[in-house]
């Protein structure tokens, strides 16, 4: 009896750091691969962001290249390059977020009203399919539809007596094309997410409303939508947090190195990639990348603070 009591006291004393480490050595070892992974691929490159302040010379390496201060940033600001990239990136993302969420919500709510389970399942599966294919194939699908010489839509337009513009030389058409293709690829994914949120909802309110004689529109307006509101707002805020990030794969595969289209299609990620891989301009490329990371970081913090105010459970940290 006395022995048990004294042991209890020992357990309550705060153990030393060394002892805690030893006690948890297996769990620490189990996390070690992940710790090393993120150390090498995410943390080790961070000091390399210094390259944005240098005139990088490949043979000298990052830290022996001459320091130039903010010159790379200055150039990007003054040339208007950064402004254009920011404008494109933000506008595309806003279109994706607003139109995308609207479509996803609409489809999820409509699907929920259908009684036939087989149809619901099949529709979800089919809508989800485009998410599975690589952006490389997506670019081929688009080419198949709208290329001037052989495209399906081009031939349709010509056979109906219209004239098809040469889309791959026409910058003005691409915001529509890219938004449409993005919606095509991501609507199913988002619909499944919202649909899961709807089916997870408490059904008793719905039944009560039905018994009280509410029609389908009233049920959607006064029950489904208000219940979904927190989910929508939170997903929306997190999407805003990523507003400087871009869907590189989609943009690069659709537009590639077609400089005729850059005015309306160049986003931060495509510029960073091209100026590094094609023009070997490592310093400017990393300056744009660093700008994106730093400003993006503060936007995420802001979005998270908003979420935290609305519902602390959903905040990231």
């Amino acid at each position: 009896m006395q022995k048990a009591a004294s042991q209890k006291v020992v357990n309550y004393r705060k153990p030393s750091v060394g002892r805690t480490l030893v006690q948890n050595r297996t769990l620490i070892f189990m996390c070690l691969p992940a710790i090393l992974f993120f150390l090498v691929f995410s943390y080790l490159p961070m000091p390399g962001a210094y390259i944005a302040f240098t005139n990088f010379q490949y043979n000298k390496g990052i830290f022996a290249s001459p320091f130039v201060g903010l010159k790379n940033f200055q150039f990007l600001f003054i040339s208007g390059q950064l402004g254009l990239l920011l404008k494109n990136t933000v506008l595309y993302n806003l279109a994706f977020i607003i139109v995308g969420n609207f479509l996803q919500l609409t489809f999820a709510i409509l699907l929920n009203e259908v009684a036939c389970k087989g149809y619901k399942k099949t529709a979800q599966s089919i809508m989800f399919l485009p998410y599975f294919i690589s952006d490389v194939l997506v670019s081929l699908l688009v080419y198949n539809l709208i290329n001037y010489d052989y495209g399906f839509i081009s031939h349709l337009v010509t056979s109906l007596g219209g004239t098809m513009p040469k889309v791959y030389q026409n910058a003005g058409a691409w915001p529509f094309i890219i938004v449409l293709v993005h919606l095509w690829k991501s609507t199913g994914y988002g619909t499944v997410v919202y649909f899961a949120a709807i089916t997870g909802m408490d059904s008793s309110m719905m039944e009560a409303a039905q018994i009280d004689g509410a029609n389908a529109w009233q049920r959607i307006r006064y029950i489904t939508l208000p219940t979904l509101k927190p989910t929508v707002i939170i997903l929306f805020l997190f999407a805003i947090g990523g507003i400087l990030k871009g869907n590189f794969g989609l943009f690069y595969n659709l537009v590639g190195n077609n400089s005729m289209l850059f005015k309306t299609t160049d986003i931060i990620e495509t510029y960073v990639y091209r100026s590094m891989m094609n023009s070997f301009n490592f310093s400017q490329s990393s300056a744009v990348g660093l700008f994106q990371s730093v400003v993006g970081f503060f936007i995420v913090l802001g979005a998270n603070a908003f979420v935290k105010r609305l519902d602390p459970d959903y905040a990231l940290f």
Partner: protein, 310 residues
């Protein structure tokens, strides 16, 4: 239990009876809109398949169509006449997908389990360390230079295998899955004197099957669709490229098109460029589309868990 399941069924029954006019209108709208969108989702795939069986002439004449006006398997014959590139690309992609998915899955599950243990005092610190990388990164250039200049992984398949092994998102998703396993299982293992690793392998992993299926599929998909790291790190010196990067090159560069049918005794100018692109696309994407009906439910499950938080 029976009472519980009976009530919703009964309620469902009343919905069927009380179908008012607005319900019918909504059903019609849904069937029309959703069906149209579903057709739009499938049609482009169908068109690629149809075009791959068309003749080059018919495409020059009337473009890509929903049904080939004259049926031909010439583009496939060409691909199979010198299948080296295709087989090599398949071998690389299948190899990367298998190795990457198995290793990545094990590491993600192990990390997810350890970070979910309430009695692990460092779990929040390590989680933040991992999560922070998705909030802030050094950008592409320092990452590229690290791989190329410091790790010397240019033209190595490791430059593709390693960066895709895990992501903060997958670890968070795994953590959410592990949460559903009762803590008593870990406790019972401890009482039996098993170490943490033993508990994980013998008691937790077998209970994690749905999670492993979901996260394994996300990993497999990212390896199968990989073209980005390949485009960064594999130069022309590499003989066999992953499938999607091979497809990328076939679509974008005539040179590799020539290579892919080199030695098949076809004059380059006669090459059926358009149909060959389509046939390559069909062969490169086929397995994903064929497997899709069997695996999609795991993805839906993953999204449902991930949507809660993550």
């Amino acid at each position: 239990m029976t009472v519980k399941t009976q009530f919703p069924e009964h309620a469902m029954h009343t919905t069927h009876i009380r179908k008012d006019k607005s319900q019918i209108v909504i059903n019609i709208i849904t069937y029309v809109l959703v069906t149209i969108f579903c057709i739009m989702c499938i049609l482009p795939f169908w068109m690629i398949i149809a075009s791959s069986f068309a003749t080059e002439d018919s495409i020059r004449r009337s473009g890509f169509t929903l049904w080939p006006s004259d049926f031909s398997t010439f583009s496939y014959e060409l691909l199979f006449r010198s299948p080296d590139q295709m087989i090599g690309a398949y071998a690389v992609t299948v190899g990367l997908t298998l190795v990457g998915t198995v290793i990545g899955l094990f590491l993600v599950a192990m990390t997810g389990y350890a970070l979910q243990r309430k009695d692990f005092p460092y779990r929040n610190g390590i989680m933040f360390y991992i999560y922070f990388t998705s909030l802030f990164s050094a950008g592409l250039v320092p990452f590229y230079l690290l791989i190329v200049q410091y790790l010397n992984l240019r033209d190595s398949y490791f430059a593709i295998l390693l960066p895709l092994l895990m992501s903060p998102w997958l670890i968070v998703l795994m953590k959410n899955f592990v949460k559903a396993i009762p803590h008593e299982i870990t406790e019972s293992g401890k009482i039996d004197g098993a170490g943490d690793f033993k508990i994980f392998v013998a008691l937790i992993l077998p209970n994690l099957k749905p999670a492993l299926a979901t996260i394994g599929l996300f990993l497999a998909l990212s390896y199968w669709n990989e073209w980005y790291y390949s485009s960064l790190f594999l130069t022309t010196k590499v003989e066999y490229r992953p499938l999607q990067y091979h497809l990328y090159n076939v679509i974008n560069k005539v040179a590799s098109l020539k290579n892919s049918v080199a030695g098949s005794n076809v004059v380059i100018t006669d090459l059926p460029g358009e149909t060959l692109k389509m046939a390559t696309a069909v062969i490169a994407t086929g397995p994903i589309i064929l497997l899709y009906p069997f695996v999609q439910k795991y993805f839906v499950a993953g999204l449902t868990v991930g949507a809660v938080k993550g």
